[in-house]
Symmetry: C2
């Protein structure tokens, strides 16, 4: 039905949609999500603003499309960085993925802010974004799971009051992982984004100057924290 261009009309629709997203992404990268304006996008594309609503019913829908693209772009960057070191040990792979996330964030600050900064108020991400959002997470889970199949995965502490939650968590995410590792993994995942966010949003200004080795070391210690050998 909606697949490959049944007519010139459908093909044009795909092209215009892509052009809108492209221009919107340009404005997002240049000015940030708050300054992204439908009218400005339309103006730049030589169309009238109301015409744009035929393609995206609201500004939030455009933002949602950009969010999914951003998640995908980040996921792809992480995955290709991981593929390049797939033969190495879990630690190297972990650090490689973390480094890729940081590098992508530094290269696309506004996109990163869009997906991992404070959500635009009033806006609630629809379920559509979930698969794209999960890509980096799945990568990290895979690394820890692989490590768990091999030797040397450290024993991690797990307080009694956290055990039920940790068991539920690994049941959903990675059934072959010990609960303590699952909990540590999720915590490390959040902490990774704390490190990246602080650097990106200027919190390290005049505190950390040489940020590359600092991040590398922190990422390595995160690997410790999830018990990677």
């Amino acid at each position: 039905m909606t697949s490959t261009a049944r007519g010139a009309r459908a093909r044009a629709r795909i092209e215009v949609t892509a052009a809108i997203k492209e221009e919107a992404r340009r404005q997002l990268a240049a000015e940030g999500a708050a300054r992204l304006s439908l009218r400005a996008v339309a103006r730049e594309l030589g169309m009238v603003s109301s015409a744009l609503y035929r393609y995206f019913p609201s500004r939030d829908d455009l933002l949602t499309a950009l969010i999914i693209d951003a998640y995908d772009s980040l996921g792809e960057a992480a995955e290709s960085a991981h593929a390049a070191v797939a033969q190495e040990g879990p630690r190297q792979r972990w650090v490689a993925v973390c480094t890729a996330v940081r590098r992508w964030a530094l290269a696309h600050p506004h996109e990163y802010a869009l997906i991992y900064g404070s959500p635009v108020p009033g806006y609630h991400a629809p379920q559509t974004t979930v698969p794209a959002a999960a890509r980096v997470g799945l990568l990290l889970i895979g690394i820890v799971r692989d490590a768990h199949r091999g030797p040397g995965l450290a024993d991690l502490p797990l307080p009694a009051d956290l055990r039920p939650e940790a068991e539920r968590l690994v049941a959903d995410l990675a059934p072959d992982l010990p609960p303590a590792a699952g909990a540590a993994l999720v915590a490390a995942w959040a902490q990774l984004y704390g490190l990246v966010g602080f650097e990106l949003f200027g919190q390290f200004h005049r505190v950390v100057e040489d940020r590359e080795p600092f991040f590398r070391h922190a990422a390595t210690r995160l690997a410790d924290q999830v018990g990677l050998p």
Copy 2:
């Protein structure tokens, strides 16, 4: 000069300024920074919008005032939580401060987003905010420094390429701290905000459900990471 009300005029100015901030804070808490409108604030206060510019020359200046207040409120929450356990060990004090930060963030999500979420594009925090912003950091530094004076502070790893940066860092922040502890402290500080931010911004939705013990455990492991006994 600018001190205690030289006349009724000056007193009124202080009161109106306070009323503006109060109403702005209400709107911030209810709707978030992006939806905070000068005109709406003025309307609610029964004044015309242009009059408000006599008190805050721009929307950004109002936001800056709210940011400082938010930092102060968070700092005070953390400090009073710390004071309540000042007699206990470094771990307990560390976890108490982390917990207070989380609790404050959950109680004031939009304020938290304002200071630790993605910065409003085009807006750059003036130097005025720095002292208020530093309060929680100073608290954490103090805990680690105290621990370092006592026994049991763990030896932390420090890669060679990070040493110069770590030395510079402790020279600025806490000269009596070993460089490795300083680097670990800054990393832990960032990671704390990663944990809080992920929970607050919905990234843990359907992943972590029982968040209180989860956070508690993660904060405890952060204490490990900075070598607290």
